[in-house]
Amino acid sequence: MSMNLPPDPTGGLRGVNEDRLMKRVFLSPAVIVLLALSIFPLIWSLGISFTDMQRGGSTVARQAEAEGITEGVGFLGLGFELTGRNYQRLLGDGRLHSTVRNTMIYVFFGVMIQYLIGLGLATVLNQPFRGRNLVRVIFLMPMMMTPVAAAYTGRMFFDSNPLRSPLAHFLREVSKALGSERGITVPWFTDTGWAPVAILIIDAWQWIPFMTLILLAGMQAIPDDIYEAARVDGANALQIFARITVPILLPISMTVILIRGLEIFKIIDVVVVTTGGGPGSATESLTLYIFEQALSNGNYGYASAIAYILLVLVIIFATIFLAVGRRWIRGSASGAD
């Protein structure tokens, strides 16, 4: 392997041997950690997903235990019966279907809301005004909040009792002022339609600032002469935004949307704290379902199978997104001239 190495431009003659060693020293710790704690569990859980493993051993292991055979059974998943049953079970699992749907809703609408509002706010913050740095600092605050804490705060606001929640109070007063007799109360967490909306809003509150700050950094990197030239050509603000800002921001936009999308696939804390997955399983996310199958029910095999479904969804999402994104970026690059 070392014979194929291209010459190292920074290593002199004296450094060659040292460098050959040092380059391994530098990279190895990270690679070893990832191989041991990421790649190995990844492959292992694929194996587990094809077994009937449960907490405290599989049916085979329990049987063996009852018969007094302890050797070679139940050790870290070895000695379990191989089966495709978990994957068959996936097909008929209604709760799985609804958690997949919920997760897709969180990802799709979450990313869309956060991107559009983030883009709008970044456009506003890109204008010079007094106190802009302060605003940027304020924007960092929600991002740094523990999602669990943000979820509890959200729960206070989406309480539909106007005596407790300032939001419910506000909605009631406004709707009264607009002519509704009793005032509107929204059953945020008890209604299957509203509950996901509340969760989306909490996640958006936390992460719109992230979108905003990154898009703002992207906008500030656009040189002024481009705008100048467009203005000289007589373009108005809206045209400049649509024809120049948005296309130039496309690559960054793709990146932040991908990052946020992949993050929302992982959503669990906000759901646990606000609704616990309910009402019914209207807000349950895939990660929460997997967690419950593994920890509450102890179905290790089945939980791993569902986790692989999630992984496949994530990979499909990322692949399609990157493929479409590249085409878009290429298209807009040639179209902008």
Partner: protein, 297 residues
């Protein structure tokens, strides 16, 4: 400095008044959206239970009489619990931050300065870097079962070491990514002249490169710390008593005590405020790290 002020004046004087008004209206509105929940947490934490349920009460001393009881409870009768969980969060976050920074800086430096070629896979530096960052985006749910089994087998459930190892694993990809980006922007001349003077690679890395890359290291440290401090799923899964962290404690308030909003609010602020203060002090590093990851990426 003066030039910047001039541009600012020129630009803003060109803007019609209504646009400025709209601009400030939007900015103030959004700042309100961001800040009001924090205000609400702060006021709720000093309300009597009756003021929480018979409200909503907005302004202390006007709508309600603030009381310090819940904070006193948190640092009084609940002191041991508060301290323990806070310490758990602190230890696991700091421990994993140190490890992530060290391992991330080393790998980032390697990927920036050496040429790697993994013959069997046909991977060069870019492929390796991409592989490393892609680990960051694997759904953590896939690790639930293997980690449970591993941690039980090695007796690491409910230990600091267990949490630190897990969080380090999650933080390394991002750390490597940011540090590689940072080192790429750092000229090699200084290291080279140090090496001409007889320093080894390692010495050049420790004495020349690391001091110069303090901003990158700080950015990585902040991100690692915030991630570990805020993490919920693995903290919930891998702890059951001794090593429970703040997020798990907060999330569990629901079950153990019923919903005592006033106490939860105090606890939440306890978990959130230190991180936010740290973040605000180090704001420029955060922005830099964010943009290094995404804008160039």
């Amino acid at each position: 400095m003066r030039g910047a002020t001039k541009t600012w004046l020129r630009r803003s004087s060109r803007r019609p008044l209504w646009q400025s008004a709209l601009l400030y209206a939007i900015v103030i509105f959004w700042c309100f959206i961001v800040l009001f929940p924090f205000y609400w947490l702060a006021t709720t934490s000093v309300k009597r239970p009756i003021d929480v349920s018979r409200g909503p009460n907005y302004v202390p001393y006007v709508d309600f009489q603030p009381i310090p009881d819940h904070w006193e409870e948190m640092f009084g009768s609940q002191r041991k619990s508060t301290e323990r969980h806070f310490r758990n969060s602190l230890v696991s976050a700091i421990g994993s931050t140190i490890l992530s920074v060290i391992i991330g800086a080393m790998a980032g430096y390697g990927l920036s300065r050496f040429r790697y070629y993994w013959g069997r896979l046909g991977w060069d530096n870019d492929n390796i870097a991409f592989w490393i960052i892609s680990q960051r985006f694997l759904p953590p749910a896939i690790f639930i079962v293997p980690f449970l089994l591993l941690y039980n087998f090695f007796g690491m459930v409910d230990t600091y070491a267990g949490l630190i190892i897990a969080y380090t694993m999650f933080n390394i990809p991002f750390a490597v990514w940011i540090m590689r980006d940072f080192f790429n922007g750092l000229p090699v001349d200084l290291e080279e002249s140090a090496r001409v003077d007889g320093a080894t690679r390692w010495q050049a890395f420790i004495r020349i490169v690391l001091p110069l890359s303090a901003p990158g290291l700080v950015a990585v440290a902040i991100f690692s710390f915030i991630f570990a401090w805020n993490e919920y799923l693995f903290a919930l899964m891998l702890t059951n008593f001794k090593a429970i962290t703040m997020p798990v404690l907060i999330a569990g308030q629901n079950n153990t005590r019923g919903i005592e909003w006033w106490f939860i609010s105090a606890l939440t602020l306890m978990a959130v405020v230190p991180v936010i203060i740290m973040g605000l002090l180090l704001e420029r590093f955060i922005t830099r790290g964010l943009t290094a990851g995404a804008v160039k990426g």
